[in-house]
Symmetry: C3
Subunit: 211 residues, 3 copies
């Protein structure tokens, strides 16, 4: 099988879900949503990417609505944010590290899931990226803001890089746990570097016609 070690992957999935759910909860708190809004945005951020992934590859019901462990983890993070949001804001740096781990696990895991369902390479790269960034996009659309990933920060690029590498490894039949974990670590490292150096994707040039 192409999957990561099952037990370890669950742990990492839960880390990713928790981190993404914190981000969803924080956006909801900043937008002054109510308790239900905080829980929905936490769940949407944490599970939305996986739901899109599963709908695209025809795996229903999506794991995001059927696995109570992921769902409970997302709702727990939502409750934590609701009650302790000043504290969560204060450890923002730590949350970003968790978030980078989530990005890495979701991108590589998404591509592997897609390959495992027999999807081809192009599809699997895309599915990996969508798994990693889809939840955050749903979170932002529901919160009434243009998705952050489209505006600033190098967030999607590490996911694209990692998903491409893992799909290539699969294509050339050199996939094994070391390669997979290497890809996960690479995504994590690139994302952390982008955060530390405050790297941003380039913007289109301004022109007189586009003030």
């Amino acid at each position: 099988m192409l999957t990561l070690d099952t037990h370890l992957q669950l742990v990492l999935d839960l880390v990713g879900v928790f981190a993404f759910a914190l981000s969803g909860g924080l956006v909801a708190v900043r937008k002054r949503l109510d308790l239900f809004g905080v829980l929905v945005l936490a769940a949407a951020a944490a599970l939305g990417g996986g739901v899109i992934r599963d709908v695209l590859i025809g795996r229903v019901p999506p794991v995001g609505v059927s696995d109570w462990r992921l769902l409970s983890c997302a709702l727990a993070a939502g409750l934590v944010t609701f009650f302790f949001h000043p504290g969560v804001e204060r450890i923002g740096r730590f949350v970003r590290v968790l978030d980078a781990a989530g990005l890495a696990v979701f991108a590589i895991g998404g591509s592997l899931t897609s390959l495992g369902e027999g999807m081809d390479g192009v599809t699997s790269v895309l599915v990996g990226v969508v798994t990693a960034i889809g939840g955050g996009m749903i979170r932002d659309v529901l919160a009434g803001q243009v998705p952050e990933v489209l505006r600033r920060e190098m967030y999607a690029l590490p996911a694209l890089l990692g998903s491409t590498l893992v799909v290539l490894a699969h294509h050339y039949d050199v996939i094994n746990p070391v390669v997979v974990w290497g890809c996960v670590l690479l995504v994590f490292a690139v994302r952390i570097i982008a955060v530390v150096l405050d790297l941003n994707a380039p913007k289109p040039l301004r022109t007189g016609a586009n003030p």
Copy 2:
């Protein structure tokens, strides 16, 4: 079968679709959308929850795009809103009662549909809630506003309560028409009480850090 009496359920479904479509049409009129926008928002509010439900549980094509009765009902409500919106606003209280009935039927009906397709309990609770609130969320996102259900009013809670009860009844094998109708009435009653007493879900505490 776990479904409600078919004929009665169709009548109730149509009531729910009509009420939700009125809400979609009113939001569109307030946002100054054109005729097509009013019809799309009416259809999205009325049928969107069911479409998400069916996509999540793998029932394609979703009933919202294949059943001409539901679709016609939604479009008719859209036309009514387009031409007579001041009148519809004026009977706002009556529309809210219809809307509460829609919420109840969609939540319980959504969970029963999910159970009927062999989904497990956690999934079916979620699917019921999503069926009930999904249409309104799509309506608001398309209209450029943060979904109302995330901001205020006790709207999702009755749906969650009813879906949980009907799933529990199914789990303990005590499901029958009386129980199902009891759940529908309970959701309706709780929602009406929330409207009358103007109950809202709690908001996160403000802090100095979140002005």
Copy 3:
């Protein structure tokens, strides 16, 4: 088979994808999104309608995430917009002609795809319209604006007209390449006329109660 000539259809699909992707890229540039945002909005506008179509009729993975030709074409248009957006704005009239062609091909092609998968008439009309306007709606929601198609311009009506005619032709068993191409041309012509005459769908009447 009900499809258009395969080779010709691919060419037209690519024209439509390219035109829709330019529209997505331009919206992203105007909203000052970064390079990744421009590429995502280009891809969403160009491929989003087809992805919704395929999810609704159960054809997974959707062609928008599995066909590298469509995807490459969308990303190429996104890059063109990113680097040469003042030029793309300047040939806006030509882009609108391409866009009308895209609308026509997507609407008729969407309905034919749906009929080909065994969907009934009502579903196939809706699926055709959703294929044609879905991408633009996703583009606008991601860019934080109310979808243009809901606010102004006669954009969806030609699609609805063409999809209805092609579904009727299929129903009365008089479908053949001439009829199909006639429908495509009709949609194209109606849309161009609407653009030239600046036709708009009617708006709801203002009232004192809705200032």
